[in-house]
């Protein structure tokens, strides 16, 4: 592990590493408040330019701060399921990032964290812990990537995020795993009173099997807006399970998934639970199929447990509307260009939640995915 000193402008990365990380949101250290990069079985770099942010390898954080022991497996049981148990069992020396945004910090530049799997047929088990302390505000960019030569392997990750009272976080996550990889991701977030979250997850690149399970617990007067942009070409199977629990009065959530299948399968199970009066939640699950192959399954579920919990959902799955295609082609676009524009629009890539620098890269990913270039 290289612990880059304060102000070091260039991380210890190869050109290839920089290139593949750049595709999932990496920027030079000077443009980020803090950076953490994990490669294969080691934390390769941690660096902070901002006194309001501390980043450490998880193992070091556990030794440095007693409270981190309470955070680890604080939101999920180590025996929750087979994969999580596997991570727990394998991590004699825990592998992952610890990001701590200090109380009251107003972090102006984004914090970036990345995971690389560089060994073909590698097996990677990681555990990341994020603590956004009371009243802190931060923007986070996370990515996962493999070099072009890595097609197969397995990645299992656990993420635990604690948002303390009145904290605020906007985040973007981009995954670019290998086409033959199996990936299991488990994310758990607890939001304390008044915390606010805005998150975007982008899953565009092919992967053999991708199972993600996210659980969000929201206390009083919290707010969460999340969107997932999900693409599955031939050979990709994704299962996305989300659970949002509106536990405290006044908690509000909006969870939208936009899914595109170009031959792959996507299953989106979204479960929204209103446990207190005055809560308000919305689930949106929209699917667009580009071919007759593959399938999209959208299963929104609402569960109101308290009087005054207002829950709603919208779901749709369909093919590209030929009227829209013809409309664009009548302006001179060929069919591929017209389809790309419709898909980009469907995925709402102009949404302000996506950093402009990343937007162009995602557009390129869509074009590559459509042409089978990824």
């Amino acid at each position: 592990m290289v612990a880059a000193s304060h102000g070091t402008p260039t991380p210890d990365l190869t050109n290839e590493e920089r290139d593949i990380l750049h595709d999932v949101g990496f920027e030079d250290l000077d443009n980020r408040a803090a950076t953490a990069i994990l490669a294969d079985g080691r934390v390769k770099l941690v660096h902070s330019n901002d006194p309001g942010v501390e980043v450490l390898p998880l193992a070091e954080a556990l030794r440095t701060y007693d409270f981190v022991q309470d955070l680890m497996f604080g939101l999920v049981d180590p025996d929750e399921n087979e994969q999580i148990a596997m991570v727990a069992e394998h991590m004699h020396e825990p592998l992952g990032h610890f990001v701590w945004v200090k109380p009251g910090a107003r972090v102006s530049l984004p914090v970036q964290t990345f995971t690389l799997l560089e060994t073909p047929q590698g097996r990677q088990f990681t555990h990341d812990i994020t603590l956004i302390d009371e009243g802190a505000t931060v923007e986070m960019i996370s990515g996962a990537a493999v070099p072009s030569g890595v097609h197969k392997g397995r990645h299992i990750s656990i993420g635990e995020c604690y948002m303390r009272k009145g904290s605020s976080c906007s985040s973007v996550t981009i995954e670019h795993w290998g086409a033959g990889m199996d990936v299991w991701s488990y994310g758990y977030t607890a939001m304390e009173d008044g915390a606010r979250s805005q998150s975007t997850a982008i899953k565009m690149a092919p992967v053999a099997q991708d199972l993600s399970r996210d659980k969000l617990i929201m206390a009083a007067e919290t707010s969460s807006v999340s969107q997932a942009i999900i693409f599955a070409g031939d050979g990709t199977e994704r299962v996305i399970d989300t659970e949002t629990h509106l536990v405290g009065p006044g908690a509000r959530s909006e969870d939208v998934a936009r899914m595109v299948s170009a031959g792959g399968t996507i299953v989106n199970n979204a479960h929204l639970v209103g446990k207190a009066a005055g809560t308000n939640g919305f689930l949106g699950c929209d699917g667009l199929k580009l071919t007759d192959r593959g399938a999209i399954t959208a299963v929104p579920a609402l569960q109101a447990e308290a009087e005054g919990a207002m829950l709603s959902h919208e779901a749709s799955v369909g093919m590209i509307d030929s009227d829209k295609l013809n409309y664009l082609m009548s302006a001179g676009m060929d069919e591929d260009a017209a389809r790309n524009l419709i898909v980009q629009g469907f995925l709402s890539l102009e949404d302000s939640a996506i950093p402009s620098g990343l937007r162009r890269r995602v557009v390129d990913m869509i074009a590559q995915a459509k042409s089978g270039g990824m």
């Binding site: 509307d321 030929s322 009227d323 829209k324 013809n326 409309y327 664009l328 082609m329 009548s330 302006a331 001179g332 676009m333 060929d334 069919e335 260009a337 017209a338 524009l341 419709i342 980009q344 629009g345 469907f346 995925l347 709402s348 890539l349 102009e350």
Partner: protein
């Protein structure tokens, strides 16, 4: 510029257009008058190559080239464009991203301002637009596409009088201006109310009825005739 000769068009087995003949010379703007269901929109869609119309006989030539076997986007790339009567809405596709996809972003802002759409550049196409805004956007869309043959399908429908004037003036301005390469343009405008007639400054009008062009002549004389005698052939 546009030559339609003995064109017969069907949807499945049903004839929609019957032996249509129409000549639109370079630099001219013509209007198609006719009652609802007379085949005006079907003719424009057939020229453009939109489904579900099948040419069963006759041909369509653009600059002397037969185009009825060309795909929709190929006709557009040759220089034909259409302003829709009821365009679809495209969620998530802004006017700006559309212009970028056409490579026309450099002239977007000025063209949008000229059509009073300067505040619409980040709006999604046709999403939440009023009737007048849709019509002005369709004109702007053609400016961005930069065709030489501009087809307008009922540009005054669903629009209040103030917008009819604005849209009519915009059509005249766009058709009468040369394209980006300095070439002369032509226009064909469908109307069944005649409201845009005073504004588009048409050179010639054609009356369509029951899938046929039954008469051609001076636009204002024909419209006056229609107001008194309906969509009939004027006496010689």
């Amino acid at each position: 510029m546009l030559e339609v000769r003995d064109l017969t068009v069907a949807i499945e087995d049903k004839t929609i257009l019957d032996r249509i003949n129409l000549t639109l010379p370079e630099g001219e703007l013509h209007v198609l008058l006719g009652p609802n269901g007379s085949g005006k929109s079907s003719l424009l869609a057939t020229i453009m190559g939109l489904p579900p119309f099948t040419v069963t006989s006759g041909d369509i030539r653009f600059d002397g080239q037969p185009i009825q076997d060309l795909d929709l986007h190929e006709r557009a790339q040759l220089g034909i464009g259409v302003a829709y009567q009821r365009p679809p809405s495209l969620d998530g596709v802004s006017l700006r991203s559309f212009a970028e996809a056409l490579g026309a972003q450099d002239r977007l802002e000025a063209a949008a301002a000229a059509l009073d759409l300067a505040d619409f550049l980040n709006r999604d196409m046709n999403v939440g637009f009023s009737g007048g805004e849709i019509k002005r956007w369709e004109v702007l869309k053609l400016v961005l596409q930069d065709p030489r043959l501009l087809l307008f399908d009922e540009p005054e429908s669903g629009v209040d009088l103030e917008h009819v004037i604005a849209v009519g003036d915009a059509i005249a301005r766009v058709v009468r201006a040369p394209d980006q390469q300095g070439r002369i343009c032509s226009g064909l405008v469908i109307t069944h109310t005649g409201l845009v007639l005073n504004h588009v400054k048409a050179d010639q009008a054609h009356i369509m009825k029951e899938g046929r062009i039954i008469h051609s002549g001076d636009p204002h004389a024909l419209f006056s005739h229609i107001q008194t005698a309906g969509y009939t052939v004027p006496a010689a």
